[in-house]
């Protein structure tokens, strides 16, 4: 039986492009397509973030208030400066990477290894900074209370500057003794209240300080300047809200609560920066592997430093994603 396929004139060839289609090696081209798919993954996350933000456009937390810490400058309000510094660190490590790639083109083993080492260090500083950001966000700063509907109420003085819970709430009697470390079983947690203060203690402290007001998470647009700020309640409205609608104390942020506003904000922050941080971490591991390969002379013997270039593409991609995360989480 004649089952042969009609001849197309390409027999004996791998495919039309030969072994180097698009004039890029197989590995480099596939790294590009992996990066494309990874870019689509990150876009999916960021677009979902945008979706949720547009859904709750009037009550989204203000990033400047959430991320305003700077190392060794405790208590100063430094919105965004630390993330800006992190951006410079990551762009800097991108530069050392591209210098390593360039040195590889000139088969300069010494320079390649030196620049790769700098890149690894830059990556580690970045991941460390990310961890520090997480720590600040998880611990929170002022504390707040949440309502039955899951909204956040924050405390301010009469002028509108924020007041922390510990400034006006005192810890009262505790009916139960928490288990000490040497009494519990390792998986048992004993935290009957779940926060430093109970809601009744907050009410008491609030009633005793006539200067205090409550700020809701609803954003209002100033008709004159067009700037938006959170809604401030009067003393009477504040008392009414706190005594009738507040159900619990929130300190810091986790996947189910967020003292700065919508818990969704915290969910997306942890997920997207966590996924990005994981990329940075894996990039550091790849960089370390090729760093040792460079030292061992693997690429010298191979006659080409293309592996540095391929891992470099991945590393630049991580920087590229950060540029977008920086814009959409901190600036916009």
């Amino acid at each position: 039986m004649d089952t042969t396929v009609a001849p197309t004139g390409t027999e004996g060839q791998t495919w039309g492009g030969g072994s180097n289609p698009l004039k890029a090696s197989y590995g480099k081209m596939m790294m590009w397509f992996f990066i494309l798919s990874d870019a689509l993954t990150f876009s999916g996350f960021l677009a979902a973030y945008g979706f949720s933000r547009f859904k709750f456009i009037e009550e989204w937390p203000i990033a400047d208030e959430v991320f305003n810490h700077f190392p060794f400058m405790h208590g100063t309000d430094a919105p965004m400066f630390y993330v800006a510094l992190m951006t410079f660190i990551l762009i800097g490590s991108s530069v050392t990477m591209v210098l390593a790639v360039d040195a590889g083109h000139h088969m300069d083993k010494k320079k390649v290894s030196f620049y790769l080492l700098l890149t690894v260090i830059g990556g580690l500083i970045f991941v460390g900074s990310q961890a520090w950001e997480w720590k600040n966000f998880i611990n929170g700063e002022y504390g707040a209370v949440k309502t039955k509907g899951g909204k956040i109420l924050q405390f301010t003085d009469a002028e509108g500057s924020r007041v922390a819970l510990h400034e006006f709430v005192t810890v009262g009697e505790r009916p139960v003794d928490a288990l000490a470390n040497n009494e519990g079983i390792w998986y048992q947690s004993d935290d009957p209240i779940g926060s430093t203060y109970t809601i009744d203690e907050v009410r008491k402290g609030f009633a005793a300080n006539p200067d205090l007001r409550i700020r809701t998470q609803v954003l209002q647009v100033d008709a004159e300047t067009g700037a938006s700020h959170k809604t401030m309640l009067s003393r009477e409205e504040s008392l009414f809200k706190l005594n009738n609608q507040a159900v619990g104390v929130v300190e810091g942020a986790n996947l189910s609560e967020n003292e700065y506003g919508a818990p969704l904000f915290a969910d997306f922050f942890f997920f997207i920066t966590g996924f990005h941080g994981f990329h940075v971490f894996s990039g550091v591991v790849f960089n370390l592997i090729i760093f040792f390969n460079v030292l061992l002379g693997t690429y010298e013997r191979r006659g080409s430093y293309e592996m540095v270039e391929k891992v470099g593409l991945y590393w630049h991609f991580v920087d590229l994603v950060w540029v977008f995360v920086f814009t959409f989480f901190y600036l916009v």
């Binding site: 949720s52 800006a84 360039d102 593409l313 916009v332």
Partner: protein, 135 residues
């Protein structure tokens, strides 16, 4: 010898012009530093704008603040130079460039447009509809 290696590893000469030929660097290393300075300048502008948040940029165009448009455009500019010069997309053949960039740009615009329109619609239902959970 070094030059010989640069030519045989399959890598064509680097294109050393940026800004459509307005700036031309003498070597690839010099171009890298030039692009770093440019990217840093953009980041500094972004941080200054984000810190001051000038009231004059609070107007809206297409449902988004002018300030936010500026941030997004500056981000795309940064992304372009990272991809073109750090990732050497400028030196690749146009087929590879289009296969990667056009695919990504098309799908991302599509995804963002659909999700943001839907988000805005849900916001309107929550806010204005007679039954706030009836979509």
């Amino acid at each position: 010898m070094a030059d010989h290696a640069a030519h045989t590893d399959g890598h064509a000469e680097h294109k050393l012009e940026i800004f459509r030929g307005l700036v031309k660097f003498k070597s690839n290393t010099q171009k890298i530093w030039g692009v770093l300075i440019f990217l840093s300048l953009i980041t500094i502008v972004e941080v200054i704008l984000g810190y001051i948040k000038p009231d004059s940029l609070n107007g809206h165009i297409l449902g988004l603040k002018i300030l936010n448009w500026i941030f997004i455009i500056l981000t795309l500019v940064k992304a372009y130079y990272i991809t073109w010069d750090f990732m050497h997309m400028r030196d690749e053949v146009s087929g590879l460039r289009r296969a990667v960039v056009w695919t990504g740009v098309f799908l991302i615009i599509y995804l963002i447009a659909i999700l943001l329109v839907e988000g805005e619609y849900i916001y309107q239902v929550y806010k204005n509809a007679a039954v706030s959970f009836d979509f």
